[in-house]
Symmetry: C2
Subunit: 470 residues, 2 copies
């Protein structure tokens, strides 16, 4: 086995896999180093299992809104079994086979930088192999959940996204710290699958803080109506869990403590750079790796280091990591060939427009681009248009009491959209229309001729444009 490769990728999540695939497509050799499972967090402990857990819950909610249908009970054991299936029973041989089939070399072990272009891989048996990269080393190690420094919290061994998505049972009572995507999705999943007391403790005053406020408000209303407790402005003072895996009590600055059988912490993530050897090449440890728009790390002599996905701290979303990875793999190839490296496809342009995101709750929450607040702060000539999704025929035909809302942020100087947010059942697939409109900067008067089919939820596009004055 040769130990020299054109490209060495540390981390075989979706981002790492895509870098390798693009590099190999371009004629380079590549090694992919992974110490856990090829496929990464997304495939086993994030997007994929969480969606599998949420799907029956979402569908049951939809059934409940349609006269003539009766929502049945959810067989949570069957749902967990289906989850096991979609995560391939935590067996990564399929993914390893995919990497090897590129072809690229899959190296199982913990990779760390050991000076310029050098990667030291420590296998589980403790043996060490040294790899060297002719063209590039790409960091794609992702991120890990942050456990806030609350007394007793770490000792309580709380669930993070990792454990909750891999749960083998549903706790009767679940307390969730956080109000972001993971907190909201997993609270609703566990509640739907049988957790009879589910309580979110949210430090701020709303859910999904990075998205337009109305979305979090709609979601909070849905939570309360379905019996999920939400306490805003919650300051956690102390956590008690006398018996490992036993009852847990969360003490707050105000109000009664919350007692539960399990505790999920979903208060943020940090770039997985610990132990990655960044110090060996003069970069700060324990910080995201700063990159330019070609995903090349800044401050590294000769520019051989790249970072894609969560580890560069740009946007912590699988699809954006994959997108960066495609650009990164391609630009490494171009540079290796001495070709021009300034094509748009070699750059992370999408991140600049504002990454699209879908929250798979009921209601679904989808957003792309800038929020109104962001756009105003950046000095755009902003005009906002909103529309009640429940007044769209295609939406109310989805079910009784349909509730949802759409908001578009317009750049009046250029007549294009800066951001779009939808909250409502059945909007997940609607988002991509907005992603295209925002990213391709399609002028509003051109969008006017893109006629939404009747009766779909998409007709909200027409309503937004009419409300704008077209």
């Amino acid at each position: 086995m040769a130990d020299d490769f054109d490209v060495i990728v540390i981390g075989a999540g979706p981002a790492g896999e895509n870098v390798a695939a693009r590099a190999v497509r371009g004629g380079l050799t590549a090694a992919v180093v992974e110490d856990v499972l090829a496929g990464g967090e997304c495939a086993y402990w994030a997007c994929v299992p969480s969606k599998a857990l949420l799907r029956p819950v979402e569908l049951t909610a939809e059934v409940g809104r349609v006269p003539g249908l009766e929502p049945g009970p959810i067989d949570s054991a069957a749902v967990l079994a289906r989850r096991d299936e979609v995560v391939s029973h935590f067996d990564d041989s399929g993914q390893v086979g995919w990497i090897e089939g590129l072809p690229a070399e899959f190296v199982r072990g913990r990779g760390r930088l050991a000076g310029p272009r050098r990667v030291e891989v420590t296998a589980r048996d403790g043996s060490v192999r040294l790899l060297t990269a002719r063209q590039a080393v790409v960091l794609a190690t992702g991120s890990t959940a942050v456990i806030p420094p609350v007394p007793g919290l770490a000792e309580a061994a709380p669930w993070t996204s990792h454990e909750v998505t891999a749960a083998t049972g549903v706790p009767a009572r679940l307390v969730v710290l956080g109000g972001g995507v993971v907190a909201c999705e997993m609270a609703q999943a566990m509640h739907g699958l049988g957790s009879r007391e589910t309580t979110l403790l949210v430090r701020g005053s709303g859910l999904l803080g990075k998205i337009e406020p109305f979305a979090g408000e709609l979601l909070a209303r849905s939570f309360v109506e379905s019996g999920i407790g939400v306490r805003f402005g919650a300051q956690v003072r102390r956590v008690e869990r006398p018996e490992p895996g036993g009852k847990v009590t969360v003490h707050l600055a105000q109000g009664p403590p919350v007692e539960a059988d399990e505790l999920l912490v979903a208060t943020g993530r940090r770039a997985a750079t610990a132990g990655l050897g960044l110090g060996t090449i003069g970069l700060p440890e324990d910080e995201p790796v700063t990159v330019d728009d070609t995903l090349r790390a800044t401050g590294v002599a000769d520019g051989w280091l790249y970072a894609v996905g969560d580890v560069n701290g740009r946007v912590l979303l699988t699809h954006m990591g994959k997108y960066q990875a495609r650009a990164c793999g391609d630009v490494i190839v171009a540079r290796a060939r001495g070709e021009r490296d300034d094509l748009p496809s070699y750059r992370d342009l999408a991140g600049g427009y504002g990454a699209p995101q879908v929250v798979f709750t009921d209601p679904q929450v989808c957003a792309v681009g800038r929020t109104e607040e962001q756009a105003r702060q950046e000095g755009f000539a902003v005009r906002v248009v909103e529309y009640d999704l429940g007044a769209v025929a295609g939406a109310f035909l989805l079910g009784d009491g349909y509730r949802g809302r759409a908001k578009a942020v317009v750049d009046e100087d250029r007549g294009v959209l800066l951001g779009v947010t939808f909250a409502g059942p059945g909007t997940a697939e609607l988002l991509h229309s907005a992603t295209i409109a925002v990213t391709a900067e399609v002028p509003l008067d051109r969008l006017w001729h893109a006629v939404p089919s009747f009766p779909t939820v998409s007709e909200v596009w027409l309503r937004l444009l009419e409300a704008y004055g077209l």
Copy 2:
């Protein structure tokens, strides 16, 4: 009551309503003439009730694909009651109020042309009122179902889209003539709601003949698996129904006759021009009214006549009729003011790209733009890209055994999409992304930066672009 208006609209369906709204918004006076119900076919006997009938059937199919859920029985009486609700119990007072609130005058009665700019309205009591239009008369009378000249068929008083969407019960056995959208949607609705023998008799060799063939193939497979009978190449020779409303027998050129309790004819529609007085202004009777891109009838001196929606024969889809209506109302205003009338928003441009359409079956079938065959016939430098939707993570997470397909038709000369077709559960709202891409002619290398969220069905966009070679 004055009998002179700037604009007189005959037909208060969605298209007619929109012409009036835009004309009034532009400062003109308008009258809207309707002899049946304001709101039109769409609101009472087409899109709206059909979707209400299909929704529980679609949702039950989705539930059946999700482990952990059990599809329950559908209470068809409750579904029909919900249908009654969404069609406002066939009461148009809400729609009349909307028209009057524009404000425009609502004139109940049968409108017909009586020479240039003159409309004669015959009320139900036989009284006649003569209206005259200063600026324009707009025909928006829609279309009616064609009953083919098969011996015994008309005498059997078959259902058309009108009767099936307004059904007060579900026939135990239903035979359907046709294989287009209405035939497919209503066969599946009635079957799902309890028709235990549902048979489609299709003259051609596939379903949904105007859409890419793979879509009809997927749908036919779904029909057969769910127990809906499909006989292709069926030539109906004779229909027998000895007792009105009784058993009906359809005799075919080949194979055994089909016996059923009800017969639905869905073999096409024709422009509703009969009795409209087109002869009084020298236009052919019983033909669609030919219009230019501003929806103005050709061959009419002084250009005061317009036609929008089904009656002009361009595209028989509610949303396209409404789209035409907006352009039509606006251009009438511009011409009345003596302003320039050549703005893009005054023209039916979308029709030229190929209208978007969603078929609300399981699987859903969605298409916009040109099919491969159309594009080749028109001489484009065509390249086709296809992708298995079941291989998209966001699709297989929707349920076990997800089946679907996507096809994109690329114009290689310009690097833009000419047409996109999706067939698969959960694709209805995905279509609008394609509608924007096709209509706004977004270059493929720009679409590359519109990143689909993971895990949504929309990720098929990435797969199509990768398959294309990006």
